[in-house]
Every structure is written in C-alpha cells, then in structure tokens.
C-alpha cells in the first residue's frame, strides 16, 4: 500500500465514496491477483466500470440477484480468492441477510460485503432504498467485522486493511459527493482501533462514517460555548474499541454517539451495550435515525430531519449538560 496523493484524495472526495471505494479497489487489485468483485447489476451505480475494464476476468455481474451474489461470493472465498460483493446497502446485506449469516459468517470466510449509499443518501428514492438497519442485522452475525469509513482517505485505508484481515467484513459506505476530506495526511488505520480525532474533557462525541464530519463541526461549536469535546472516529463498529470506550468512561462526563443509522442496532447500541456493565459510566445521547420510516427528501433534508447536523448535535449536548448541572 502506497501513500495516496492529496490531489487524488481531493478528487475522490468530490466524486464521493463510491469512487473512492472503486478506485481503491483497482489499486488493490493491481497488487493482489486474488481480488475479485461480484456485483448484482450495479456496475455503473457502484462506479465499477474501471475495475471491470482493467480486470474483466475478475469481475462478475451476477444479475439482479443478491442472495446468489452472496453464495457465489462464498464459493469464491472458500477456494482462497478475496471476493468483494458490492451492492446498494439497502439490498445487501438486508435482502441477503440469511445468506450472509450462513454462508459467510458461519464458515468465517474471507469475503467482504460492501454496501454503498448506506443511511439515507438515497433520500428522494424512498424508504425501499434507505439502509438504516443494516448494522443492526450485521452486528448480530458472529465473525463479522463492520467498518464505516469517514472520508475518502479512510475508505482507501479500509480497502487495503481488509485485504490483510481474516474473516468476513461488512463495509458500510455513507456520505455524498463533496464530503469533506477529514484525513488529508497519512494516518494510522487499524481495524478495531478507533482514532481520537480531537481531545476534549467534557463530552465525547463518538461517530462512525461520514457523519464524523458533523461531529467535528459540533465540537467546534461547543468549543465556542466553553465546552470541551473529544471526538472519536469509531470506524470499526464491530468489534468495538473497548480500550477507547474505557478511557472515555473514565475521562468524559457525557457521550454522544453519532451515526447515519437507526438508533436501534448500530453504533449507539454497541456503545450502550458495553456501557451497561459499568456502574458509573457517563450517560449517552444517541444521535441517529429515529425509529420510523422516513419522509422522502434529499440528503441535506434527511440529515436535518434526523438531527444529524453539527448544530443539532451541539444543541443536544448543551441541553443535556445544562440539565445535569441543575
């Protein structure tokens, strides 16, 4: 894995995570001949045209059939290849959840299931195309690792990191084209080890995926109000980084989990589940998608509707901190 140029990262950020992912995959495939891609008729949607062009014998369009996509992927992985099954997050892993559990999780295969446009990026397309519950499904499957990268650079790091990882991985990609580049410089990325993006002593904002950018902006807003916010990039939701959580429990008085996923079953749940065993752990605000089907609307509308913009996150935190002082 080589360092990637700032120009490339800026370009990928403009194009969005689908391109960051597919271009990273091309780079990985140049280094590793065992990398193959399986996709259910989403070659253009998933920006896989370049991959298909460069590696026509390692690219499989299995038609609009997600269940078989996972089975086929399992067979390829079983024989020692390194398949990436790429679909829209609303359809894989949701539509093929049982296959994902029995064929990949159960046999602990080295396969990667990639969900593009996770969360509510497909806002105008309606609830059939929102992936708000995919982590809830995947977290319950043993052996699976779940990674939600926050920006173009972290997508790139994720693609190369999972190639060295044993066991099945779910990669969940959120964010719109033009999402900020949060890691312009090279950085250490290790699966299962979160990144302290910014230190702070009052509240700990723990975010996963592209919405980390809003968590960082919320910390800026809070700073102006005299509140010190630590920001954690919890790119790996499973296994969750308990060392970092232990530190947060000791050092911060409030936690705000931030995710573009239902407040049921995702990052917030993972933190709360671990926290349940601690008598004096800080209380927690769960910023995420409410437990309801969504109104349709563009990405910006969706994020505002669900309180996933920095202003809402900061306001929430301020309110809870003030309440706790009363």
């Amino acid at each position: 894995m080589n360092n990637i140029s700032l120009e490339t990262l800026k370009e990928w950020s403009k194009l969005g995570h689908r391109s960051s992912f597919s271009e990273s995959l091309v780079l990985l495939a140049r280094e590793r001949s065992d990398v193959v891609v399986v996709s259910p008729d989403l070659t253009t949607t998933a920006r896989l045209i370049n991959f298909e062009k460069e590696f026509p014998d390692r690219f499989f369009n299995v038609g609009i059939a997600e269940q078989n996509m996972i089975g086929f992927t399992a067979g390829l992985a079983r024989e020692g290849l390194m398949p990436f099954a790429v679909s829209i997050a609303a359809f894989a892993p949701m539509r093929c959840a049982e296959q994902t559990r029995n064929m990949l999780g159960y046999m602990n295969l080295n396969a990667r299931v990639v969900g593009i446009e996770a969360g509510c990026r497909f806002g105008p397309l309606g609830n059939t195309h929102f992936a708000m519950d995919d982590m809830g499904v995947m977290r319950g499957i043993p052996n699976f690792t779940i990674i939600c990268p926050a920006d173009a650079h972290e997508v790139y790091k994720t693609v190369f990191a999972v190639a060295e990882h044993n066991g099945p991985v779910h990669i969940r990609l959120t964010g719109a084209p033009g999402s900020p580049l949060l890691y312009p410089n090279d950085f250490d990325f290790k699966i299962g080890k979160s990144i302290e993006y910014r230190s702070g002593k009052d509240v700990a904002i723990i975010a996963t995926g592209s919405v980390l950018a809003e968590g960082i902006r919320a910390a800026d807003i809070l700073e102006k109000k005299g509140i010190s916010a630590r920001v954690i990039d919890m790119h790996t939701v499973k296994p969750i980084d308990v060392d970092m959580l232990n530190k947060v429990f000791r050092e911060n008085q409030l936690i705000a989990t931030v995710e573009e996923h239902s407040v049921i079953g995702g990052l917030g749940s993972a933190v709360a589940e671990y926290k349940a065993g601690f008598k004096d752990a800080p209380s927690q605000i769960m910023c995420g998608l409410r437990d309801s089907f969504r109104k349709i609307g563009n990405y910006e509308f969706q994020m505002k509707e669900n309180g996933l913009v920095a202003e809402n996150i900061a306001e929430n935190i301020v309110n809870v901190l003030q309440l706790s002082k009363v």
Binding site: V36, D57, R58, F60, V62, G63, A65, Q67, N68, I70, G71, F72, T73, A74, G75, L76, A77, R78, E79, G80, L81, P83, E98, Q99, N102, M103, Y106, M107
Partner: protein, 285 residues
C-alpha cells in the same frame, strides 16, 4: 469386468452406508433424523464418492480433489455415511450424531479435518456456493469437478434459480448437479406443494440436462455420472434423478412420516432386518 467389480464395490458401500444412516439416526434418540431424504440419495452419494470423484481421505485438503457439496443439507446422514465409509470420519463417531458438542450436526458444518467441504442446511445454500467454487477453479485454471446434490423440494427456493442462471452465464462446465427427485417434501408430495417442471426449468436456465430413471440403481447412476464427468460440453450439467424416498427401509419408503422422525427400538430392529434381508438377497442373486 473391472466395471462390474466397481459396481459391486459401490453396492457394498451403499449397504454399509444405509446401516450407518440407521445407526446414526437411532443414536439421535428422540431428536430423530431426516431418514427419508438421506436414504433416497444414498446410492447417488455413494456412486459419487466411490465411483467418480477423485479424492484422498488421507489428505482431505488435497488441492486437486473433486469437491462435493450437499445442497440438500438435511440429508447429511448420507453424506456422513459416505465420509465414514471413505475413512474421513471414524466409525466410532456414529453415536455422536446430533449429540452435544458433536461434529456431526443435524446439518453439515464445514470441517475439512473430516472432509465436510461446506456448511449447508438452509435450503438453496449449497448450489450457489458450488457455483462460486466452480468459478474459482475456472479462474485458477484447475481441472477438478464440483459435484452438488440438490433436492427436488429444494428447487422451490428462488436462490436455486438465481444460481442456475448465473452458472449458465459463466459456463461452469466443471459443475455437475444431481437433483434427487424423491417426489416428497416436508408437507406433501412435490406436485401438491409446488408443482414444477424441473426438466423445462433447468433447460430454460441453460443447463445440459441428463436423466437417470432409477437413481437407486447404482449401475445406472455410475454409467450416467461417469459419462457426464468425461463429457466436455461447455454448459453446467444437471442430472435429474428419480429416486424413492426412504429407499431400503420397508416402513419408510414413500412414507412422508419419515421425512424427519425418531425411530423406536422396534422400528430400529425392523430397519436392520430390512437391510439384512436385502443384503442376503443380493448375495444370493
């Protein structure tokens, strides 16, 4: 001459395998076992393991081995019996079928030490995995074959057809599927539950279709499987094979009650008696 002795050898194995099936199923006690769907495909599985498949029980991970995938995973008694009679699984493990912390689950769980190639049991899962394995062999330019046994009831599953279309698209000629048509599924005959024209469906999916009129006749099964293994057609191959559910046990044959059921001591004795009688009859022929 040599072929005749191979047929007899496989027939000997089917006798041992049917006994193993009954012993394992009886050992499971009140938990019972899927006797019917296992006994229908014993002759098919035996012929694959002892007649056509290249494999080495002393080296279960041999890269060039032919692969076997039991897509109708509930018929695992037949699979385990073949692995026992091949020497992958020690005979002493028969008593462990469905036992606590046992390797021999009620549906196969991948375990290469014992020759269990993939985990199956949720219907429709074996075929797509077998397709991926066949594709991998093609990519790696390996010449081994993938044998996959699918149930007729299992063909209700949509994923079977997703996989079938995909295998034809990628011309997985190294994939040989045997559909065990025993005419029954859990709640009735296949024609009652979900009438399917399997012949037309597999042809329409783009597969080369062959037939075995009596899938419990080792000679027939061996003849067709050997031909198919040698054939060099470009398409994936499917063999539609008519069998008898519960074959070999008088009170289980074509009896839906023994799709999955426990057997009591009396039934166990009867089953052993049936098998002995058939063995004696064969030797006196």
């Amino acid at each position: 001459m040599e072929k005749k002795s191979l047929i007899n050898e496989i027939k000997d194995k089917t006798e041992l395998m049917r006994r193993d099936c009954i012993e394992m199923g009886y050992a499971a006690g009140s938990q019972g076992a899927h006797f019917g769907p296992a006994l229908s495909c014993v002759d098919i599985v035996a012929t694959i393991f002892f007649g056509v498949m290249d494999h080495d029980p002393k080296n279960p991970r041999m890269p060039e081995r032919d692969r076997f995938v039991l897509s109708k995973g509930h018929a695992c008694l037949a699979y385990y019996a073949a692995l026992i009679e091949s020497g992958y699984i020690p005979k002493e493990m028969i008593s462990q079928f469905k036992g606590n912390d046992s390797i021999l689950c009620g549906h196969p769980s991948m375990n290469m030490q014992y020759g269990i190639e993939v985990s199956t049991g949720s219907l429709g899962s074996g075929l797509p995995i077998a397709c991926g394995m066949a594709m991998a062999a093609k990519i790696k330019k390996e010449t081994h074959k993938i044998f996959c046994v699918v149930g007729d009831g299992e063909c209700n599953e949509g994923i079977i057809w997703e996989a079938a279309f995909n295998a034809a698209k990628y011309k997985l000629k190294n994939l040989i599927v045997i559909v065990d048509i025993n005419d029954f599924q859990l709640s009735g005959t296949t024609s009652e539950v979900m009438p399917l024209n399997l012949d037309a469906l597999w042809k329409a999916a783009g597969w080369d279709v062959s037939y075995i009129d009596d899938g419990n006749n080792v000679k027939e099964v061996l003849r067709v499987l050997s031909e198919i293994k040698k054939s060099n057609g470009e398409n994936p191959k499917v063999i539609l094979t008519k069998t008898v559910k519960g074959k070999g046990i008088s009170f289980m044959e074509n009896n839906l009650a023994f799709h999955a059921a426990p057997i009591n001591e009396e039934q166990y004795k009867q089953a052993v008696e049936d098998l002995k009688r058939a063995e004696t009859k064969r030797r006196n022929q």
